[in-house]
Amino acid sequence: MPDVENLLDIRRLISDIQHKKLVRSYDIALRTEELLEELISKGQWKSAKELMNLVKTRIQLVRENLPQEATAPNIMRHTLKVIREEYQSASKKKDEGQSLHELVTATPSNVLDYSDSLIDLRSSIVDHLTEYKVELESSSENIAAQALEHIHTNEIILTVGKSKTVEKFLKRAAKDRTFNVIVVEGAPLYDGHTMAASLAKSNIQTTVIADSAVFAMMSRVNKVIIGTHTVLANGGLRAASGIHAVALAAKHYSVPVMVLSHMYKFSPTYVGSPNHEAFNVCVSPAGVIPYATGPILKQIEVYNPVYDYVPPELVTLFISHQGGNSPSYVYRLLSELYHQDDYDL
């Protein structure tokens, strides 16, 4: 790559993620946002077009190195949208949009290619981004704030594994209401244990069950509240492995499944099939069967998938900082968040 220096920021971000210095999607989001601000305010670009190219190359880079990572690209996609908007408002030009009508009526004169440089573009974009940053920071707060709308007294809520957002959500609710939480331990990470411990600390009656007991317990559960890794364009989820089964069980007992998700988790990607390489990833089998098991390992295959694909019909509600939405509405949110052209980069 010729301009290694320019891409250094993003590559550092990538390596940080790889080095597990950044783990929570929230941190990644903030970090990305800062990175972009940096880029926009300091980076050498003349026109919106150049800037967009800069961002796009970064997105590509992330895609190459971290195919599973969704947050960073989404943030950047959104930024692209911001840039477009700012540009349009700056240069009184309308986006040619998607509809045939506009395609046709568009005359060369008013086609906008983001090429011409505008004076106050930089500052305006930065302003816009800072707003966005505030939005990000307050996001999980806003989500938690809705807790009381969803949790009533003495109900039994089931959650899987560990999610900071869910934790916050439940704890907030626990301030004014008493209810029971069933935590599924979520093998092979068992981060459900940490979750349970912390919930119990803040005085929530917590029960820990193994993944196998989900179906058994589900008949008594009133709500399933989970976090997710990504929300896909069709309203499906890419969530921790095991959640598909949970969602199915919930469906069977028609228990509502609520997914807490920040805006930056909505990504405009579709999946062909759940086993798609790009979609799922198998990590070290050690979590499932210890290396010391011996010769038998040579003769068996062991899968330790990280994600599950949860089809949209199993999800009842998405709760983002803007409030609740049904899966069928996701495409709408997406078109608000990102620009059509930036969907697949």
């Binding site: 005085n203 193994a210 007991a213 499932v288």
Partner: protein, 541 residues
């Protein structure tokens, strides 16, 4: 007699001596034919005595000593040796007293014994054979006394596992840890019960040892069995039933009907206490209940004026027949039926560990079918590992996943085979926790789900959720996380009474997840369980 003497004399053997020795023995046999079997039965019962010292040899050889004296003498010997034994295994006073009690009642029994023998002596050689049999029995009794004492002593020392567990050391330490704060932990446990499952039987590790001690006068085989159930060394309904049957046989073999009592009647009482004891160790599996019922049913049908040994024989083969027909033959039949359904290139998903499934798959493999098996497994029991090993050993190509991975692999699966703990009248399948989930996922990908289950596991019970009847396993199993060095944050759950690990053992699978149930009778939909039950009911009566 002279035989003995000559033997004593012979060491470096020259042919000459050998010759006349053989001659002597020969004619001795010739002229003392009638007593020959007495001789044999004599040194039978001497087994405890004669090694003691030469003196015993002498009185062994002293032909004319009456049986009675002999026995008394032997009895003293036994007492001595037992005392010796007592000293060897140093045990708490309670134990010794208990043992004494055993001994005393043993003495009683002995007396009955001798009476009986008297009568038999009166009888001709025909029942001397019988007396022999009973002598054997008696001997065994005595040894049990030993063993029970031993066993009790062991209990006193290290609580569970009369069977060698891999790390008794750890066990011990664990228990010691627990036994110290026994009182309050117990309280906490109660506090810690999830309301939903308050009513269920919960296994409490810290009570294990005490449990085994409250009962005495249980046949050792059952004591052992109990502990094996308790610490889950015997797991899975088939194995549990088989073990129970084995113990029962043992019991029948050893049992001594007190005078003016009918064997079956007496046996029933004894059995009752034993089963109570077992129940206390761990609730019965449906299969066990059925098996016992069957046994009782048939035992009542034995005509009462047979002599005990024959009754015993009858009882024994009631059990054998049952084991053979309802378990093994059934297994074979099922295996055949399923194998018709397994074809080359199949990918078969199974869950946990089931002897029946193992058998089926191995058979299929032997038939040269080319198929892959995916073993799904889940904490805390991780039975799947066992299954995996067995299949791999059998040379079947396997894949191993956790339950969470089920959705990931399900796409590639062609059939799902499941074992069952019991099949309920309303068509629900009761099985190891997690089975329902597998079935659920399979349904979602609409893959055929076959539940393999012998009809002797069918139950009249009706159940629609997993709470009404279930068991709760040791919660500590959940708080242990494998692999990681640092203890899981759960490990201190006892301190925080808001935090409760819940470890259910079974769940029920609704019939609409199950394509069919494979039984030895036929492949049928779950819903036709009651029909089968009817049939069984008819042909058993």
């Amino acid at each position: 007699m002279d035989k003995m003497k000559s033997k004593a004399s012979t060491d470096g053997s020259t042919k000459k001596e050998k010759k006349n020795k053989r001659k002597q023995s020969k004619d001795s046999q010739d002229d003392v034919k009638p007593i020959s079997n007495e001789v044999s039965c004599e040194d039978n019962k001497n087994e405890l005595v004669d090694e003691k010292n030469d003196s015993t040899k002498n009185d062994a050889t002293a032909q004319k000593l009456s049986e009675k004296e002999l026995r008394r003498l032997e009895w003293e010997k036994k007492l001595q040796s037992q005392k010796g034994d007592k000293e060897v295994t140093t045990i708490s006073n309670t134990k010794t007293t208990q043992q004494q009690k055993q001994l005393s009642e043993k003495e009683l029994r002995k007396l009955e014994w001798e009476k009986k023998l008297q009568e038999q002596k009166a009888g001709d050689t025909a029942n001397s054979a019988l007396s022999k049999a009973e002598l054997k029995a008696k001997r065994r009794e005595q040894q049990e006394a030993q063993r029970q004492a031993k066993l009790a002593a062991e209990k006193a020392k290290k609580p569970p596992s009369t069977t060698p567990t891999k790390d008794t050391a750890k066990e011990v330490s664990k228990v010691e840890k627990k036994t110290v704060p026994k009182k309050e932990t117990k309280k906490i446990i109660d506090l810690h019960r999830v309301q939903l499952v308050q009513h269920l039987y919960a296994e409490m590790p810290q009570k294990q040892d005490s449990k085994l001690l409250v009962y005495n006068n249980i046949h050792p085989a059952f004591v052992k069995l109990g502990s094996q159930y308790l610490n889950k060394t015997i797991l899975g309904s088939n194995a549990r039933t088989l073990a129970l049957m084995a113990a029962l046989k043992r019991l029948i073999y050893d049992i001594q009907t007190p005078p003016k009592q009918e064997l079956c009647r007496y046996l029933e009482n004894v059995l009752q206490t034993c089963t109570n004891f077992l129940q206390n160790c761990r609730p019965f599996a449906v299969s066990m209940v059925n098996a016992l019922r069957n046994f009782k049913l048939h035992s009542t049908q034995i005509d009462t004026n047979l002599i005990d040994s024959e009754k015993k024989a009858r009882l024994q083969d009631i059990i054998d027949v049952y084991i053979n027909d309802d378990i093994y033959k059934a297994g074979d039949a099922i295996s055949l039926k399923v194998n018709e359904k397994i074809s080359d290139g199949d990918v078969i998903l199974i869950y946990g560990c089931s002897s029946l499934l193992k058998k089926i798959l191995v058979d299929a493999h032997k038939d040269g079918k080319k198929f892959k098996v995916i073993v799904a497994d889940c904490r805390p029991l991780l039975e799947g590992k066992e299954m995996l090993r067995r299949l791999v050993v059998a040379g079947i190509k396997c894949t191993y996943i956790f339950l969470n991975g089920a959705s990931y692999v399900m796409n590639s699966v062609t059939k799902v085979l499941l074992g069952a703990h019991a099949l309920l009248t309303n068509g629900y399948v009761m099985s190891r926790i997690g089975t329902a989930q597998i079935a659920l996922v399979a349904k979602a990908y609409n893959k055929p789900v076959l539940v393999c289950c012998e009809t002797y596991k069918f139950s009249e019970r009706v159940q629609t959720d997993s709470f009404v009847y279930n068991e709760i396993g040791d919660p500590d199993l959940l708080s242990k996380t494998p692999g990681t060095e640092d203890p899981s944050p759960l490990s201190k759950w006892k301190e925080n009474n808001k935090l409760t690990p819940l470890n259910l053992l079974y769940d029920v699978t609704p019939p609409d997840f199950v394509t069919a149930v494979v039984t030895e009778i036929a492949i049928l939909p779950c819903t036709s369980v009651p029909v089968v039950l009817r049939i069984n009911a008819i042909d058993t009566t």
